[in-house]
Amino acid sequence: MFYVPKNAIYKTVSRRKFLELGGGSIASLGVGSLVVGLSTVISRRPVQAASSEDAKWKQYEGSKLVFMSENTPPSFAIREKIEDFYKLTGIEVEVITDGLPAVQQKIGIDFQSGNADFPISYVQDKPIGAPFADYYADLTPMLGDETLPQDPEGYGDGVWFENFLDACGRFYDRDRLIALPYDAAVACTFYRQDIYEANTKDFEAEYGYRMEFNEESTWKNVYEFAEFLKRKRAGGADVPYGYAQHQGSFAWTTQLDVQRMFFAHGRWLDWEIDDKLGTRTPPPSNWGDEQSVLLMQKYKDQADVSHPDNLANGTLELNTVYQSGDIAMQVQYHEFAASIEDETTSKAAGGRTAYAPCPKGEASWIVNGGPAVNGTNCGIGGVGINGNASEDVQRAAYLFCVYATTGNLQYEVLTGLGGTPTRKSVMDMPGVAEARQRPTSMPNALTFDAVYDVGIKDPNFVLGPKVPEANEYHSILAAETQRCLSDQVTPEEACNNIKSQIDSLH
């Protein structure tokens, strides 16, 4: 029926041997492809300090690395431009992106199992940097290594925006640097100036001042705006709610939301520690003091006049609520301006939204002393290298870190997908200064005045608390705050519960 050659393999090899060979080959191929497909591969060509720049970039040509990152605009942009990096270095980089909680879990498991499946990863300051700082490689020796290509701008504190290097790069030790700033999300106020203008007359008649928001507007003003709009809405007027908070399922967002308001009042901190470096051994916390109880009450009052679905909305969902026109104000991260200004998806686009610094503390709410400031916090994402990786893998990964944090790349992301620069030099690049005013082709630049000129500068900026148990701390804080907002506990009980739980953490 079929032609069978005389030397057919099954005639020369016994059936058992044939099956053994086949099975072995398949298994080898499977394991081999897994190893090659998922893991880092490294090949090295030695270079000297005097070698050309091109040779330095290409010293690990033929290698393969994996970059695990959060699904943020710079990560998408770098994935799109990964071919450029390949041309520059000959290194293949697989960019894997996921939600921040998943990134945190995957990186954590990788670190703590002693592996380096993700030789390069995203160092979001508190959720990833604070608990895993010890597992990242110290970049300091590589920053001065003449056999590695370096960014001509350098990496000193002065080339980044204020506090950014501290935020994602330094944890518990000033001499050790674990990441370079790659991505920034800094809080500022987004508000509907069209709605404010339309209602200012009625508001002024009732409260005695205009319904306007600026750098001097306080949390008390925010409360009164929201209270006014909610009452008007209950009376049948076609107005949105005045405000909504960051709650939702990811506890860190709630912690940041609470922290902004608390810090604005006398620069209140959870612990009396170095806010920029953090500590592994925090003293007893300030929770439960008179200031925290008063502010928790104010935070609850604010929630009571906010959007009714307040507890369901995390940062992304809150932005959607604002885009849909259901609230007139949100304190949001400046990377979201691009989505707000997108007329195809946002009712708040087209010049309806104005941007301002975070609300200032209300002087009459400060009982512990200290100034009223525009309490501003952030999520600064760095790019760091797994300390479990071999020296060569770390050096190859360093090439990627340098490339991913260049001013040029940040400029391309800003003009393309809508990124948020971390290098100051980007502000001087063509069109950026003009883009700060409408009409603009870089919507995120509309927030730059509020963020880079006011928010991130001292005394407004708050980074911490950087403590190893940061994630458990966020979880405790979010749960107790939400119990307070749901009337399950009083503000005083909430603060005391937070104190008793976090004091036993360390």
Partner: protein, 328 residues
């Protein structure tokens, strides 16, 4: 050709040439019975595989629960029962148990009642095949996808289910996941939607095995369809129901996928069931010793409750038979 054998009686063993080669040794000498080690060698690969995938992790879990687990270069520290004793003062652990039991009881009750009712309706219905196929579709969806699907359906800004609930007057402007009072029911709905079809499927299989003659005899005695169900069908499907309930019960005790997508345990811990808390402790806070202790208690309680369930739901006729009841 001659066949020689020790037996003289069997016709096949006569001197007649049967065309087989001569066997000059007794069969036992040709195929000696295998030694015990032969069976051990045969079973060894399966035992080794089982050990790797179940026994080793289980032993490791026990080990971790008695240690403060270090990572990387740091070594584990033996802490005795500290991880366990800490659980008694951990309010989230205790609340997690309460929520898990509440969630499991509500889910199982609804799923059994609705699942059995659906199976009865579907049994021998004209559209049985197509309806069964349709009802099975939720089960084919991965739990995390189901969670994400309902996350969007429940969304207070654009969710269809939110709009329906609101239109029917069940909800105000707060979405089902946005209130500590309703969030648990939000995840129960997802579980019921996804897993009631499993109960239906298993019950339907049971209903197909109900003896027709018993049903007919009962009807001859004047019983209606309701009496037929409770007196004939239900006792016959008991073993099937037991399997279905056990499966769902055990699933509920390790259910986290959809909750992580829907609420992450919030708001205010109102959906932080024990398995969710276990996940947080182990993979958010990376406290593997504490996580091991929680997991071990969860496992032990699951086994105990499973055994109780089996005792309670055991087939009554079999129970009678085992107890030697002469009426049976």
């Amino acid at each position: 050709m001659t066949v020689t054998t020790s037996s003289e009686t069997h016709p096949a063993l006569s001197d007649q040439d049967w065309g087989f080669s001569t066997i000059d040794r007794p069969p036992s000498a040709i195929n000696p019975p295998p030694s015990r080690m032969f069976y051990v060698y045969l079973a060894a690969p399966a035992i080794a595989l089982l050990a790797v995938i179940t026994i080793y992790p289980f032993l490791w879990l026990i080990y971790m629960s008695f240690h403060k687990v270090g990572f990387g270069s740091s070594s584990d520290i033996f802490v005795g029962f500290e991880n366990f004793s800490r659980l008694f003062t951990d309010t989230k652990y205790i609340e997690g148990w309460g929520l898990l039991l509440k969630y499991s009881a509500i889910c199982l009750s609804i799923q059994v009642v609705v699942g059995v009712a659906l199976a009865v309706v579907l049994n021998n219905s004209r559209y049985e095949k197509i309806l069964v196929t349709l009802f099975l579709m939720p089960m084919m969806v991965s739990p995390i996808v189901a969670g994400l699907l309902f996350f969007y359906l429940y969304n207070g800004t654009f969710g269809w289910y939110h709009w329906i609930f609101q239109s029917l007057g069940f909800l105000g402007e707060t979405s089902i996941l946005g209130s500590t009072k309703t969030a648990l029911y939000g995840i129960i709905i997802v579980d019921v939607w996804q897993w009631t079809p499993l109960i239906t499927l298993i019950t339907l299989a049971g209903l197909k095995r109900v003896p027709q003659d018993q049903l007919e005899a009962n009807m001859v005695d004047g019983a209606g369809s309701i009496s037929n169900f409770f007196n004939v069908s239900l006792p016959n499907i008991y073993p099937f129901l037991l399997i279905a309930i056990l499966l769902r019960f055990m699933d509920n005790f390790r259910f986290i996928d959809a909750i992580l997508a829907l609420t992450g345990g919030g708001p205010a811990n109102s959906t932080r069931l024990l398995p969710v808390y276990l996940f947080d402790v182990s993979f958010q806070f990376f406290k593997l010793g504490r996580g091991g202790a929680i997991a071990l208690t969860l496992l032990i309680v699951t086994i105990i409750l499973g055994l109780i369930l089996v005792r309670v739901l055991e087939d009554p006729t079999r129970k009678k038979a085992l107890s030697g009841d002469p009426d049976n």
